[in-house]
């Protein structure tokens, strides 16, 4: 039996294939671009290749993310909070709070040992809390995203970015650049500003140990470190954080198959 989870985000599309024992068999990660269906197919193809199987081998496919309705080959859809809660609780079994920070928005989720959603809070009105904002910054600062991902955590006294609007935040950054501040310091300040927004959302749902950081921003080391610093608490994170939504979708797929069998 194979269950497939596809997370079509505004920035990146991820795919995870699990076997009947919930072991990862294959993963895929592509840029979403403008054609979400094409992105979903490419991510799926990558995952299938790694798993050494074909699409017809899949028992079930669950779509999630911003573009979840654009996937005709999924059997059903599930929302991001449900998938991230499920995926995080599986990946880090002590998880009780999740921060999903992706291309478009941030979502804080409180969960239980089973990965059910107990509470959630979203911030989607402003791109200043998202990966989209970070991407625009890489252009401004001339730092490739690959380099940004490996940048060191913020220094002891990160620059304070006070603007809650991404447009004005850019202006603030330009002012710092003019004032001779270097890109690394500015990036550190940006990480802290994003982390504060995430922390504010987490507080709305209530912080409970352990905290897991998932989504596209989670595999940026500096971001994870900034979040931990702002919360004054360690967070679970790692390079596979970007797959947690797709993992959760695939697990929900397994749940569905189990239910049918019962």
């Amino acid at each position: 039996m194979l269950s497939c989870g596809i997370d079509v985000g505004s920035s990146q599309t991820k795919c995870v294939i699990l076997d009947g024992n919930a072991i990862v068999q294959g993963r895929g990660l592509v840029h979403s671009g403008a054609n979400l269906l094409r992105a979903a197919r490419h991510a799926l193809k990558e995952a299938l290749t790694e798993a050494g199987c074909e699409e017809y081998d899949l028992t079930i496919a669950i779509g999630t993310g911003y573009g979840r309705f654009a996937i005709p080959f999924s059997h059903r859809t599930a929302t991001e909070p449900s998938c991230h809660a499920r995926g995080a609780a599986y990946r880090y079994p002590g998880t009780r709070t999740v921060l999903d920070a992706g291309g478009q928005n941030m979502t804080a989720i409180r969960t239980n040992a089973e990965g059910a959603v107990l509470d959630f809070a979203m911030n989607d009105k402003c791109s200043a809390g998202s990966g989209r904002f970070l991407e625009s910054l890489t252009d401004l600062l001339g730092i490739p995203m690959a380099q940004l991902k490996e940048m060191q955590p913020p220094s002891e006294k990160p620059l304070l970015l006070t603007n809650v609007c991404s447009v004005l935040a850019e202006q603030e950054i330009l002012n710092y650049l003019e004032g001779g501040k270097d890109s690394e310091e500015i990036v550190g300040g940006v990480f802290m500003a994003l982390a504060r927004r995430g922390a504010s959302l987490l507080r709305r749902v209530g912080l409970e140990d352990e905290i897991t950081f998932s989504g596209g921003l989670s595999h940026i080391r500096g971001m994870a470190a900034a979040l931990s610093e702002v919360l004054g608490h360690s967070v679970n994170s790692g390079p596979d954080g970007v797959y947690i939504g797709a993992l959760g979708a695939a697990l929900i797929g397994l749940d569905q198959v189990m239910k049918r069998t019962e």
Partner: protein, 391 residues
Amino acid sequence: MPISKLIERLRARLDDPTYPEITEWKNAHPGGKAIGCFPIYAPVEMVRAAGMLPVLIAGAAGGIGLDEADGCLQSFVCSVGRSTLELKLDGFLEKLDGMMFPSICEISRGLSGVWARHDPGKPVIYIHFPQNTRSESAKSYLMSELNRVKDILESIAGAPITYDALLSSFARYNRRAELLARLDILRAEHPARFSGSQSYVLRLAGMRIPPEEHSAILEEALRELEDTPEGKTPKLRMVMLGAFCERPPVLMLESIEENGIAIVADDVLLGQAWWKKPLELTGDPIENLAGHYLGEAVPNAVVYRHDGRPCDSLKLMMEKTHADGVLIASAKFCHPAHHDNSCIVRECEKHSIPYLRIEYEEIEQAFESIRLQVEALLEARERLPFAGTGH
């Protein structure tokens, strides 16, 4: 004919910023006057008693840009405040002969002042409704305020407002309230036949027309509901609280209901359902109105209740409507709603009542995020029946 046809017809007429209804009224009543009323409750009964048309001016539902208003009001002012001012500054409200602002919040208060500065020729009536509703001095004070308002309305109308006229006006508003209450009961009992968004459109239809015309529409709605078949049974019955002033887009309610949630009760356009029981039709109407305001206003977020909290109305609403959960829908930047939300959230958590907290603005047209949250709530309930909360 099913109710949907009536709703379609009413919806087509909503929110024309040129306010053709006022022109129609004035054409039908030569020499007639129209008085604008900012939400939530202003003494519309007195305006009607003066033979004038009370018009609820509650923003522009996203139909106009806010360039002028943004030059006068900061970005943290609620959209209903800004778009109401924009309507004024763009010249859409020249047909009004006066404007009333009740003391619901600082925005209403500040707006009355900014409005007056931009319209020095026409009366702007700010009414201080007592917050200390249990003070023995409150009634006499409110009577003095209402008499002051009466004097101003009389000078606009060019004729005195008699006690008989006031009592007749009360009767008209009582009739409308009775019809709205009947529709509310029907909605709660048959949400698959009559939805929250349809109920909302019926209320919106009454914003710019006299109460007796609105009553005629509501009577028509009740007749047509008899012909309307039951639709799909909702997955979840919810009460919606917090949208009592700034109008959520109709599309927002539809987006929520499309996903299987039935909005079985709400507090939208609360001014139309302000009274717990009918106004007295005998005696001194000014005294009646003052006494009613102090003792018979429904629990809400803008009048201090010495004997309880707005979330008390939540329990009652849920019992009456057999609701499963609460949609806490507050307008962005609405301080009264935001404050009360924390209280409502605590009540819901205390009693394990599922809830979803959403923020909206009148100008929104896309509700993907709300749809997502509704879906997530329903999914969470599938896994865990008594959880499923959300912000």
